[in-house]
């Protein structure tokens, strides 16, 4: 009985994790520019991979492999944040202006001017 419960809990965690990874992929396809795509990439990566690893930890039970999985989870958490930041920074340093809503042109020009002023592009 206990085994059935832990296995089903593991499957639940795995499916929720895979769902969030899928959300991240849809976000990368649908969102308009680098910065907003990074939102989907970094955030869904962390939770999706984290929940998947959590499911594996529950499935594995008490063993040395759990320590390895925790190490992988910590590495993923830190590296995902850092790579997201690095890509965004590289995009900014190459003067990529963020996508803006399709408002009146005048407003958009003003916003872009302000942006150039702030970042000295």
């Amino acid at each position: 009985m206990f085994e059935v419960m832990t296995k089903s809990l593991a499957v639940l965690f795995l499916s929720v994790g895979v769902f969030f990874l899928w959300v991240g992929v849809v976000g990368i396809i649908r969102l308009p520019d680098v910065y907003s795509r990074l939102h989907a990439a970094t955030k869904c990566d962390i939770l999706g991979a984290g929940l998947t690893l959590m499911g594996l930890i529950i499935y594995e039970g008490f063993s040395f492999n759990v320590l390895k999985l925790i190490a992988v989870a910590l590495l993923l958490l830190s590296s995902s944040l850092v790579t997201g930041h690095a890509v965004a920074r590289a995009a900014m340093r190459t003067d990529l202006i963020p996508w803006q809503e399709n408002r009146e042109d005048r407003l958009r020009v003003e916003k872009e001017k302000l942006f150039r002023e702030i970042f000295k592009v």
Partner: protein, 165 residues
């Protein structure tokens, strides 16, 4: 024991724990080899790490406060993901991105890095660039910029690193 020696020992201890976790055995030869390998690697790699590692001052109190905040961070991660999911699944794609400047009053480098990481984990915000005290933050919608400007997150980081006095 000097400050450098203490930090090298902490690094060696972490490497040793990692060695034991990966090698999966507790026999004497393995632990002996692991101990010296960890010490050797930490002394050899010290010249690479010293510039950044010496600034980081973590004591037990800061670590404990960080552990207390973990629940809130996990809640933030969940909120961020459900928010991204809602926006992405909506056929209208309700986003209105903006880049805002956030001036922090934190002093150390390590607290600033932690603040940037928290900003990225929060729903709708992404830390883009870093210049001295200013963090440039990309917000996916305007309400997140307002939420960021309430400075709750900065106060949390200040509380963790005991800079609020």
């Amino acid at each position: 024991m000097s400050k450098v020696d203490k930090k090298i020992r902490i690094l060696a201890l972490l490497l040793f724990v990692f060695w034991v976790a990966l090698s999966e055995s507790f026999n004497f030869l393995n632990l002996f080899l692991g101990f010296f390998a960890a010490l050797f690697v930490s002394y050899c790699s010290w010249f690479l790490l010293k510039e950044h590692f010496l600034d980081i001052n973590i004591n037990f109190r800061i670590f404990w406060r960080f552990c207390i905040c973990t629940g809130q961070i996990i809640k933030d991660i969940f909120r961020a993901n459900t928010d991204v999911g809602e926006r992405v699944m909506d056929p209208r794609l309700p986003i209105s991105p903006a880049v805002v400047k956030f001036k922090s009053s934190l002093s150390g480098v390590f607290p600033k890095v932690i603040l940037a990481a928290f900003i990225t984990l929060k729903p709708g915000t992404l830390a883009v660039d870093f210049e001295d005290d200013v963090i440039y933050v990309h917000c996916i919608a305007d309400e997140f910029a307002k939420e960021l400007m309430e400075r709750k997150l900065e106060n949390l980081v200040k509380w963790i690193f005991e800079e609020d006095k």
